[in-house]
Amino acid sequence: MIAGPSVDGGAPRVVALAGGVGAARFLAGLVRVVDSARITIVGNTGDDCDLYGVHVAPDLDIVTYTLAGRVDREKGYGLAGDSFATVEALGALGHPTWFRLGDRDLATCLHRTLRLREGAGLAAVTDEVRRAYHVAVRILPMSESRCPTYVVLRGGRRVHFEEYLARDGAPDEVEDVDLGAAEAAAPAPGVLDAIGTADVILVCPSNPVVSIGPIVAVRGVREAIAASRAPVVAVSPIIGGAPVKGPADRLLRGIGVEVSARGVAGFYRDWVDGYVMDQRDAAQQRDVEALGLAVRVTDTVMRNPEAAERLASEALRLASTLTRVGSSSSDGERDHELGS
């Protein structure tokens, strides 16, 4: 276990802000170095959508399946060995099939939909799903309200993020991203408490714009992070000037952020204290430090769980060198010092 600042002197309480595939791989490493009972994952629900009348929560399920060891490793999402009979039959009936929902994956979504219809909250249902998959880590949705993320394409047309990604193949014509629904949403029960009592806040190597962006857009989350005494350490999702997976390059460009480790650091600088970036981007270390962030340069490629474990350790080690002093929950003002 990595030592870290903790009120009760035990292992640090870690809150991890998480998107989908990249976050899930990182978290699979984190659970090897921190007791699962000390971790709370706050997951993005901006990608959530309804298909065939069921509530699909792509990022929450990717994280759950990955931590359960059940994810389809090649794709990074869905369940290993799943079948696709339902979606194929739906296709034959004329329904769109651009979101390839596996049969067992669909069962998760059906469960979610049925339980929500019965009046359960999304946080409780997410907890039921992760327990059913024997995941020991608490996973919280960022909000229990629907807060769809819209990608604004050139010309101004807005499309739901999953339509942009899965249906349209993530075209490089992004003009902006609309997080207005997340901005208006209340955080799910437990989110602000977890942030408020955390010893370390980690920002997983996820898409900064559409995975981390919605989480910190939710009402009160940024303020809670600012008021927290926990150092905030982000892991760069950009390696060698490109995202490992997904359309982060197109989205960053679209909102006018340089597609680089340095660019993402600048995007996070207002609320992040430390930054872990890849050795291939070492030339940008000075630039990131000049933004006021403490930096650790390392190999961030998560080839396997051991590599993810090393990366998580590096992030925690960097956090352990950072202390925030004089944080006050009353004004939400960030007032911290970076220790040596």
Binding site: R146, G156, R158, H160, A181
Partner: protein, 216 residues
């Protein structure tokens, strides 16, 4: 805080189908009369904190201010883009959502618009209330928050808004409100409008002055 947004095109660009029937000047006169009616109806709606008229046309902006609305004058990025931009520009006034009413739904009654806001409040955020026009378009759309589904006004927009709400998993309530059924964009709709018993007094007067009567 809930804001109304009324999009109105450039007078020279709008309503080419009507310009054929009424002449360009007549069509412009009608557009301003319809705007006056829509703003007057909105001014009678309880629970609205701002009425913004979004337009690229300075003459429309002036008429909007004169009618008691706030003019949001800007370039014309397209109908839906200008609506979504207006929602941002209205800031806190749109904090609890928006009510978009097209500028040519001249017969709009305050009571019907109020019914939309009441339905929205009952549903709780996030939610959408749709008032379809008889031609498959959307006459008015209430959303809380505004950004919960994108604006998809235009042909067949009632379906487009239904679909957007469906994929976002957001509650959509549909209200069929007689005073919002007709948007005046062709000769047929003018006659249908004149056949309704009342509402849209400025528009009726303008049509009368232009010599358009029922059955004409």
């Amino acid at each position: 805080m809930t804001a109304a947004i009324v999009p109105v095109k450039h007078l020279a660009a709008g309503k080419s189908r009507l310009a054929k029937a009424l002449g360009r000047e007549g069509a412009e006169r009608l557009a301003l009369a319809m705007l006056e009616d829509v703003v007057a109806a909105l001014r009678g709606v309880r629970g609205l904190d701002a009425i913004g008229v979004v337009t690229p046309d300075p003459a429309v902006a002036e008429a909007a201010e004169h009618a008691g609305a706030r003019a949001l004058l800007g370039t014309d990025p397209g109908l839906n883009e200008s609506i979504d931009r207006a929602a941002r520009d209205l800031g806190d006034a749109a904090h609890d959502g928006t009510l978009v009413v097209l500028g040519d739904v001249a017969g709009a009654r305050a009571a019907d618009l109020e019914a939309m806001l009441a339905a929205l409040a009952r549903a709780g955020a996030p939610a959408v209330v749709l008032a379809p026009a008889r031609d498959g378009g959307t006459a008015a759309l209430a959303r809380n928050p505004h950004a919960v589904i994108p604006s998809r006004f235009g042909a067949d927009s009632a379906n487009a808004h239904r679909q957007a709400a469906r994929i976002a998993g957001v509650t959509l309530i549909e209200l069929r409100l007689p005073s919002l059924a007709i948007d005046l964009d062709d000769e047929d709709s003018l006659r249908a409008f004149l056949a309704t018993p009342d509402g849209g007094e400025h528009t009726r007067a303008a049509l009368h002055a232009l010599g358009i009567e029922i059955g004409a």
